[in-house]
Symmetry: C2
Subunit: 703 residues, 2 copies
């Protein structure tokens, strides 16, 4: 039995045993049975309770041993103390998938945690997988399976459909399910994973990503308990073109953390998780409402490739409100081509035809105008989505027929675009539009945000699979954290220009080095015995040519001999004289969940006060590094915003990518890397790490 089919058993079992079955349909052991009987579960329900012969009209078995067959799934609704015995019995019977409703494990402290670990070990010894403990369970509307005791069913059953939910929190997952139901959204599957002693939301997400019946995946998470599985699941979903909408909570603690000013604390958990999960295609959300808005829009499976919005409105005011929101969130609203504008203005002289297209209240009298303007937006405007603000007008029974008729040929002609209405009215009327393939929103700004998310999904899908790098070769590290020179030398091996400098032993070597490094250069004596090099004239700045370098080499050695005759001289250092660059910082922090994460920011207030950094899990290529660099708010400074020359972003991106590959190759002992500052020189002149700190965990078993 493969992993996947265990989840199949959990969410779509052919038979289910309920251990601790109750005749009372409002008890934990009774609710699932009552719900399955109500919903017409297509499998076999096998109640187990030593005290009863029948439960809710079904024959009841005294023990697991007495069951007439091996159940594909088991629901365990017994007190915590009886759970181990139950697992043992189920294991012996051959059941491979158990859902543990029972609470009183890891959530209660150390003792409970130990008991929970023992449960997992016990189950594993029988090849059994566990959902929970402390879970609200699973449901699957398509087959009427309700392996859950959620009281959300008291206020109505979910509606079948291609949305699925996986939630660590039972109550919040059920809230999402009820929210979908109350909005009329079809959501066939809900997983709640509780304590995640064994099965995590990652496996649920993957199951949905591979399922034929689920197209949109919603998930609520507090922690990512199995990062590799989660990222793999996201990659599967992305490859399948299925959006994953993730409400990841617990960011407010991080808000405080992020206020700290050094790079080590910039990669607080939630921020890292946002970056990593987004990179793997998840849409990170903060509230259930936007999750439902986007799930609704995405469930129609129309993911246009163009990230642009056209607006048709009967209210100039609403058009402006929509523009404001679109600009705020970065959804482009390009103007219509001039020829199309002219044509529309001919048809309706007092219209606005640029975008938004204001066809005025006149469209109520001449619904053909609505068709004309909307068609123009789709055809000549070429917008990924056209949003029509029709308010209560679309809610009128009389007009809705006319509007539907006007829209039908457009819906047919542009199947790959979003057509959406902002409309108010009776649910029945709204449902008719929805069935005709028109997205319906009540609020224009929520419409803009949901459409934007779906257009971004479409654009991401069109851009192909996520770029990945092969796992880099392992890097051999010293036994303990190196000093600056050691750090620079390690990084230099990784191709990171930690300092554009070279030690030379002769004037000829100095000239060659300077030529290769590039003028102007600075030269200084290399000697462990001379501390105040400048004071004795053993540092020469701003050397512009070969002759100056030769002269400086002689003068520096002479000065050393004169002022420190006994000093040991190991040579002369030739270094590029750097000026005019932009100070940046780069670093690596090992995140406990996601491993090495690279951080990039500008020096000074951008990091210290504004926390303006980009994060990315390692390793990644220069293209990704470039996107990171350009994503920070202060990127304009690197692009020459303040009248300075544009910086060498290519060189920065190359360095950042190399750093990420170094970090991935360095393995678990690498705690952090801090390159601060990195000087980004003007375009074409490179980027240089002026300081480097590498922190390592001590090697096990000595150097």
């Amino acid at each position: 039995m493969t992993e996947r089919s265990v989840i199949d058993c959990l969410v779509a079992p052919k038979s289910v045993a309920i251990i601790g079955a109750s005749d009372n349909p409002s008890r934990i052991g009774g609710r699932p049975i009552a719900a399955m009987l109500t919903a017409g579960y297509k499998g076999r329900i096998l109640p187990v309770n030593p005290k009863r012969d029948s439960v809710q009209g079904l024959p009841c078995y005294a023990s697991v041993d007495d069951l007439p067959e091996v159940p594909e799934a088991a629901l365990i609704a017994v007190p915590a103390a009886l759970v181990p015995k139950t697992i043992e019995e189920l294991g012996r019977k051959g059941c491979k998938a158990a859902t543990l409703f029972s609470a009183g494990f890891a959530e209660t402290g150390a003792e409970g945690e130990a008991a929970q670990s023992a449960l997992v070990a016990l189950a594993q010894s029988h090849g059994m997988r566990l959902l929970g403990p402390n879970t609200l369970g699973v449901y699957n509307v398509d087959i009427g399976y309700y392996g859950t005791f959620s009281s959300s069913l008291d206020t109505g059953y979910p509606r079948p459909g291609n949305i699925g939910i996986a939630s660590q929190s039972g109550a919040f997952g059920a809230h999402l399910g009820a929210l979908a139901r109350d909005r009329g959204l079809g959501c066939s599957v809900l997983f709640t994973t509780g304590n995640e002693a064994d099965i995590t939301v990652a496996e649920a997400i993957r199951w949905m990503a591979e399922s034929d019946s689920i197209d949109v995946i919603c998930t609520y998470m507090e922690a990512v308990n199995d990062a590799p599985a989660m990222l793999a699941a996201l990659d599967v979903a992305r490859a399948a073109g299925k959006p994953v909408l993730a409400l990841k909570s617990g960011r407010s603690v991080v808000g405080a953390k992020a206020a700290a000013s050094h790079t080590a604390s910039l990669t607080g958990d939630a921020v890292v998780a946002d970056a990593v999960l987004s990179d793997h295609g998840a849409i990170i959300l903060r509230d259930p409402e936007s999750m439902m808005d986007i799930a609704y829009a995405a469930s129609k499976k129309v993911l246009p490739t163009r990230h642009s919005l056209g607006v048709v409105t009967i209210s100039g005011g609403a058009g402006i409100v929509i523009c404001d929101e679109a600009e705020r969130i970065g959804l482009p609203m390009p103007p219509m081509p001039q020829t199309a504008q002219d044509r529309l203005l001919e048809a309706l002289p007092y219209a606005s035809a640029e975008n938004p297209l204001d066809c005025t209240a006149q469209a109520l009298n001449e619904p053909d105008l609505l068709q004309l303007f909307t068609r123009a937006g789709l055809e000549e405007g070429g917008y990924g989505a056209v949003l029509c603000f029709l308010t209560y007008v679309a809610g009128s029974d009389k007009l809705s027929d006319v509007i539907l008729k006007a829209m039908a040929p457009l819906r047919a002609a542009y199947p790959d675009r979003i057509i959406a209405f902002c409309a108010l009215g009776a649910p029945e009327v709204m449902e008719r539009y929805d069935e005709a393939g028109i997205l319906i929103f009540n609020d224009p700004c929520r419409a803009v945000r949901a459409i934007d998310a779906v257009l971004r999904l479409g654009a991401a899908k069109a851009s192909g699979p996520r770029k990945t790098l092969p796992a880099p070769a392992p890097i051999s590290l010293p036994a303990s954290s190196p000093d600056e020179a050691g750090a620079k030398s390690l990084l230099a091996e990784a191709g990171i220009t930690a300092a554009p400098e070279r030690a030379v032993q002769s004037a000829d070597e100095a000239v060659t080095a300077a030529a290769e490094i590039g003028f102007p250069v600075v030269m200084k004596i290399l000697s462990p015995d001379i501390l105040h090099k400048s004071d004795i004239g053993a540092v020469k700045l701003n050397l512009q040519d070969e002759n100056s370098v030769r002269a400086a080499h002689a003068e520096i050695l002479a000065a050393a001999v004169t002022h420190a005759p006994k000093a040991q001289i190991s040579g002369v250092l030739v270094a590029r004289q750097l000026s005019g660059g932009v100070e940046c910082l780069m670093g690596i922090n090992r995140d406990p969940t996601f491993g090495p994460v690279a951080v990039f920011g500008l020096g000074g207030i951008f990091v210290e006060l504004l926390n303006d950094v980009a994060l990315q899990a390692c390793p990644f290529g220069p293209d990704t590094a470039r996107e990171m660099i350009l994503s920070i708010r202060g990127a304009a400074i690197l692009q020459g915003a303040r009248g300075t020359e544009p910086a060498d972003i290519d060189a920065l991106a190359d360095m950042l990518s190399r750093l990420s590959i170094f970090a991935a190759g360095a393995g678990d002992r690498l705690t952090s890397v801090d390159l601060n500052p990195v000087l980004a020189m003007p375009k074409g002149q490179g980027a240089y790490a002026l300081d480097a700190v590498i922190e390592l965990e001590p090697a096990k078993g000595g150097a």
Copy 2:
């Protein structure tokens, strides 16, 4: 007839004439009549149409002259060409308040604008006020008055209640009305002001602020057409404790403007309007949904004075989501006192009792727990609002009785606090909670935002009326823009330390000046004939004491005599040697709507890239200036965030306030003031404008 009673006539007329009355209830001239007949308008409907004897069953009059009485209000539904004649007739008849549905005026261009101005003049000649043209009209549910042709009534009539709406846009105003209706909110009054040829939303807002029946005022604006009236109306509303929720659109154009990097463009219209309207107590919103959420919450007239949130939840997950949102928007969630926590944990050991208070699903079995935890939040927590996350549980018919019973004593005992539920369920069930004084929200994050807005209103109300300064004395300005010296001298008269410097004629004077200015000082020769003062030794830096100043004075004069024997010497300048300060900028821009507006920001990237500025209409006192200064994102730098000494914020605030008073006194000829940089010295050491530019419009009638 006073102004106010004209608006009374418009919105609550005892009789209304419809000029261009139609028997067809779907025509513009027929809709208001049909609606009033349906709604049982309490006044007299007087149709005017020369072609009919009766209209919709009512006697119809051939002309205005034929009307049996002077109508308090008139609705004009005739083509644009016939409007002047109609106004003339109504004026002659003695009607004082006309609503012009007719379009085809200012919105169509210059010709229409001229026609519109002529209409206003004509009306004024009869002492008549106009609403519109191009307006959708007004309604007043309380008396069944529908002076509107809005088709929103086709999908249902509004519900009476203490919310009122004033909108420049007809269609968008009607959308807001329909939105309120569909949400079950009571909204008795809708004004739409169309082209605002005469009556503006400001007058509508003021009428509502003074009305006994309206408690919450919603407004949609694209432009503030009468700023003094608007600000006065907001002040009246604030004094009456009535929130004004303002959706001000048109900010996206400003987004582009704000990208420009000099101070003149930082005060783009929408940004200025936000600042000025907020300062007068308006809550600025971007979307209709948040307007309705806040209007709903505020309509209960419970405005707690404490800006803090307690959360009671049956889902730990939801508690975290709520915390995240509260922190994001700055709504404090302080922890419960330890004694209260201990008590709650005794009652429910696995609860969380800090805040959020997680009473777990156990609260479903023991509803007393819900009461216990909520009471603790109100009593010991002392929170301004307690939000209970109850999701579908609260929607259960069975449980709702129990929950209502548990809440009733709390609602009674804490009438000055907000108790809110996040709940899903049938509208009937939700309405029962609502009627019991519990705010109901579907989404936890929307609940947090609406509660925050109402708590802020409460805190603002508690802080008393808006601080105002008396109008400053007029300042006499030069005939044209002054040079830097002239600007500094003008500002010096206003008490603004444009530069800490003084011209002296002797060593004794220099010593006195230095002592007063404060050491260290810099001294330089004052001579129009010596350009390169440093080169000849006529500048002395970093003078620390009296002796150095005496010596420097002698040396400077000697150097001047030696190197430039023919130069005209007007004295020696003694200036404070400034270092270690923070560079800021201050300025004034004359906004076409709101007059002089002060801007404050930090120098460098904070303004240039981040547009991090605070704005305030002039004049204002040092307290307000201080709030402005501390409101910018970079304020931490002034407070010593980067390891530097805290800056002299008192001195900055004093300067900014003086600048605002100067600007207000300078009158309309002052176009702008730019003090850039202003150096904020360490605390206690002052703030100095190192450069000053004042732009004036040329004086009329010559110098």
